[in-house]
């Protein structure tokens, strides 16, 4: 069986992950820039009333150079917050870090159970058979001048012996084998970005020059 961990590592779409992270950062940057531009518009539309902003201090001096009077020169007309000197802050993603972690647990559990038993028995049987037979007889015979009287007897004995021997052997064998495969994979992905203020893009904010009227 091939190593499944390698297969999982191969299946993780690193390139896709980086591509999507880059697109997400680009989208975020666009949204940030758009928000800054809209803030600039809001600043340009928000007007400070006339005579509310001190533009200059006018000192009146006599022939000796002594200050005899001090006046403040304020705005005659409404001025915007942008003209007042409040500018939108532009931000940028200075650093993006993709942190991908995964844990793979892979195991094969093998079980083998084997049992065997053996039974041996020796059976032996012997037998013996014996038979006896007795017998007898007599007789008279006449044979040309000879006279003969005689008799006879007999005995017969038969014996038989036997023996059976049986070897009984019973062998039993049982085997059980199993394999369990387990695969457990956990992955987590973290995207860390650092946001820093940056100078406004060229011409994004108009340069405001304030000067008193002559």
């Amino acid at each position: 069986m091939p190593d499944p961990v390698n297969n999982i590592v191969r299946e993780i779409p690193f390139a896709e992950l980086v591509r999507k992270a880059a697109l997400a950062v680009a989208d975020g940057q666009t949204a940030l820039d758009l928000n800054s531009v809209q803030t600039a518009q809001t600043l340009a539309e928000t007007m400070l009333p006339a005579h509310s902003v001190v533009l200059a201090i006018v000192e009146t001096v006599d022939e000796n150079g002594n200050i005899v009077n001090v006046e403040t020169l304020t705005n005659d007309h409404e001025i915007s917050l942008l003209a007042y000197g409040i500018e939108p802050t532009f931000y940028e993603f200075s650093e993006t870090q993709i942190d991908l972690r995964f844990w793979v647990r892979y195991f094969i559990r093998s079980t083998r159970v084997e049992s065997s038993s053996e039974f041996t028995k020796n059976l032996s049987t012997s037998w013996e058979n014996s038979r006896k037979k007795y017998g007898g007889g007599g007789g008279l015979s006449l044979n040309l001048g000879f006279f003969k009287i005689g008799g006879g007897g007999g005995y017969t004995k038969t014996e038989a012996k036997g023996k059976y021997e049986v070897d009984l052997a019973v062998t039993s064998h049982t085997a059980y084998e199993s394999q369990a495969y387990g695969l457990d994979a956990v992955a987590s992905c973290r995207l860390t970005t650092t946001l820093k203020p940056k100078p406004a893009a060229a011409r994004a904010v108009p340069e405001i020059i304030t000067q008193p009227s002559s």
Partner: protein, 81 residues
């Protein structure tokens, strides 16, 4: 770290909305630097600014930079000289 933000309320927001937002900012220790009509410049942190964006009466929240202003001093001779 505190930053300066512009907060603008919606045009149809009421005076009560303004008071609610002001109270919310003050409770969170935000400093209101300047207020013009329904817009104000607030010194607070990014986290509170993100929360403020979710307030229905708030139309826009954006980071701003307050440029250092120089007030010119003009000298002119007294009349008759």
């Amino acid at each position: 770290m505190p930053e300066t933000f512009l907060m603008k309320l919606k045009d149809d927001s009421s005076e009560k909305d303004l008071q609610r937002v002001m109270a919310f900012l003050q409770r969170r220790k935000a400093k209101i630097v300047m207020a013009v009509s329904k817009s104000f410049i607030v010194l607070t942190d990014q986290q509170l600014a993100e929360v403020a964006k979710t307030i229905p009466a708030v139309e826009r929240v954006g980071g701003v930079t307050v440029k250092r202003r120089k007030v010119k001093v003009l000298r002119r001779p007294a009349k008759g000289q």
